[in-house]
């Protein structure tokens, strides 16, 4: 056939091969470490030996469950993430709604300022918060941690909620007003219910950010109040056994459950967005 271009076909075949191998590499790179951690968590050996292990046991899970250090950290982290997320979600959602409507000068600057903790290294925020708190005479670990974690979760909540508000037409709010609803009522009965997916996604992002934080927490914990990641870091330096692997599996399972829950509640597509030409 005359219209068949061999060189174009060949180039496309090469391109296809490169494209697919990059995708395979992506998946392998993301999945293999997770599998390794899971397998190692069942290793029966008392030392870290060559992979794969020959014998399996639940000893690391037992050692993890027996350690109250992790349990204390987990409780602190859960309380901290819940409180910080609650504060950040209320303030962040209202601010996102206000900024989505506002037309005043300096609106962009205010928004950038409120989002700025996203850009500043967490270590800087944590160190700054430590000095600030000590100047104010706040030495209670939990109070300091909540201050630091509201600071880092707020921008996530506000950004995610703001993104979801873009898709909500102004005419819904205006329709509610013209039907006699006062602004607060229009907000509570129309805007907030319509934005609930975005608010939920923002809250989940905020919670995960707080729960996962190391940089801020390292500075603000004290001997009695420490978060789970800080506890893990301390243990990692103290003794290199495979308890951490068992703990990792718990984290992985919890994350998978969270994703399934999020998919059920809001739909992952709603969180990622479908865009103009999404399918």
């Amino acid at each position: 056939m005359s219209g068949l271009s061999i060189s174009k076909r060949l180039a496309d075949a090469l391109f296809e091969a490169a494209y697919l191998s990059l995708i395979t590499l992506f998946i392998a790179f993301s999945v293999i470490p997770v599998i390794v951690a899971v397998v190692l968590s069942f290793d029966a050996r008392s030392f870290i030996g060559p992979f794969p292990p020959k014998q399996f046991s639940l000893r690391w899970y037992e050692s993890f469950l027996a350690d109250s250090y992790y349990r204390d950290g987990l409780v602190t982290s859960l309380i901290l993430a819940t409180v910080a997320t609650l504060i950040a979600t209320i303030a962040g959602t209202l601010a996102a709604i206000a900024l989505s409507r506002a037309t005043f000068r300096g609106r962009a600057a205010l928004q950038a300022a409120l989002l700025s903790p996203l850009v500043v290294p967490n270590v800087v925020l944590g160190f700054g918060m430590l000095i600030f708190a000590s100047r104010l005479g706040i030495i209670d670990g939990m109070t300091r941690l909540i201050m630091g974690h509201v600071l880092i979760t707020f921008p996530y909540v506000m950004r995610t909620t703001a993104a979801s508000l873009v898709g909500i037409k102004a005419s819904y709010y205006e329709a509610a007003l013209s039907l006699g609803a006062k602004p607060w009522k229009a907000l509570a009965q129309v805007t907030l219910p319509l934005a609930r997916t975005g608010i939920l996604a923002g809250a989940v992002f905020g919670f995960v950010t707080s729960f996962d934080d190391v940089g801020v927490s390292l500075f603000l914990t004290d001997a009695y109040t420490f978060t789970l990641p800080v506890a893990i870091l301390a243990q990692m330096r103290a003794n290199l056994d495979l308890t951490i692997a068992a703990l990792s599996v718990v984290f992985i399972v919890a994350t998978v459950l969270l994703i399934v829950l999020l998919d059920r509640l809001a739909g992952l597509d709603a969180i990622v967005g479908r865009g103009v030409y999404g399918r």
Partner: protein, 356 residues
């Protein structure tokens, strides 16, 4: 009594004047169309009546009350949005109940009125559905019902038919007309579609560049436009430029490149004018009768448009003109043949100014 009165309303956005010294009144039970091209200020005017924009100058009265300090929720207007803005997280019944709840209608009364209004817009039995489960035409009628059910002083409809396809548009135009007259509802309809305005409104407020060009009945607006813009925006027209002069008596003569044309100039001052002849008033002339003015032309082509034939002919000075002939099986001059076109002085609208 005027239900709505706009007094010298001006609205600026930055340096641009969106609405420029606009005044008009709407009487009880009247349907008024705000008609004009996009960007003429009609939507801004509607949003000021609804309370979403505030006039920089002038005052708005609804039911005799000054709206200067009234928030949107304190005005008894029924607004139908271009995109309907039906709350997607509420059922049809919840959407319709929303306004009544805010206006303090008793609970038993609310459910009674929901059934009643759905009956009136011919959508019984859909109260439990979500807006996303309805067709475009159904959504439109639910939006109407939601606004009507609160018994507003005035209904405001923003481009009510623009989101529907052509056939549905024609059908819904009739239905909207019926629904509005059933409720004896004072209404303002914003539209850029002249047919929609003609078909729905008792009176049309024609707007251009933030100003009112003319306020008239649809018929008068077509028959006797007062400005070049009005004549051009509504319907088709043939244009002949010239200079008007009155020799002695009231009858005027317009000197054009095609010769003198006898006209009835009304109150228009002598000077540069444009003649507007509607295509259906420009006819092929056979004998001597009928026409006050005759023009020689050569037929260029025919456009069949169903009931009529549009004949395009070129005049001696090169101007292309259109005339309508009834499609009744008569032999018509073939393209290329020389014809005479004629019109009566009464059918020639004289407009001040020259066309650009």
């Amino acid at each position: 009594m005027a239900v709505l009165e706009l007094q010298n309303i001006t609205k600026r956005f930055g340096a641009a004047t969106a609405v420029d010294n606009v005044s008009f009144e709407v009487e009880r039970g009247e349907v008024v169309a705000l008609l004009g091209p996009s960007g003429c200020g009609k939507t801004t005017t509607l949003r000021m009546i609804a309370g979403f924009e505030w006039p920089d100058e002038g005052r708005i009265f609804i039911g005799g009350a000054d709206m200067e300090v009234r928030q949107p929720y304190d005005r008894n207007v029924g607004l139908v949005f271009q995109d309907y803005a039906l709350f997607p997280h509420m059922s049809v019944a919840q959407n319709i109940a929303f306004g009544m709840k805010n206006r303090g209608v008793p609970r038993a009364e609310i459910s009674r009125r929901i059934d009643e209004v759905l009956e009136q817009v011919q959508l019984p039995g859909i109260a439990g559905r979500r807006p996303s489960q309805l067709s475009g035409g159904q959504q439109q009628r639910v939006a109407l019902a939601r606004a009507l059910v609160t018994r507003p002083d005035i209904m405001l409809l923003d481009e009510p038919l623009s989101n529907l396809d052509a056939k549905l548009r024609l059908q819904l135009r009739r239905e909207i007309r019926n629904i509005l007259s059933t409720f004896d509802c004072t209404s303002i309809i914003v539209t850029h579609d002249q047919e929609e305005a003609m078909g729905l409104a008792d009176r049309i407020v024609l707007m251009n560049r933030g100003r009112i060009e003319q306020v008239d009945t649809p018929h008068a607006l077509y028959q006797s436009p007062k400005t070049l813009f009005a004549a051009d925006f509504i319907g088709h027209a043939n244009w002949i430029g010239g200079t008007l002069s009155r020799r002695g008596g009231g009858a005027g003569v317009v000197e054009t490149a095609l010769g003198s044309v006898a006209v009835a100039p009304g109150g228009i001052a002598d000077g540069a004018v444009t003649l507007c002849i509607r295509p259906e008033r420009l006819a092929l002339v056979d004998g001597e009768a009928g026409a006050d003015t005759r023009l020689d032309a050569v037929v260029e082509r025919h456009d069949p448009i169903g009931a009529d034939l549009r004949i395009w002919s070129r005049l001696k000075d090169g101007t292309l003109v259109q005339s309508l002939e009834k499609n009744v099986g008569r032999d018509l001059p073939a393209p290329g043949s020389a014809v005479t076109l004629g019109f009566r002085a009464a059918d020639c609208i004289v407009l001040p100014g020259a066309r650009p």
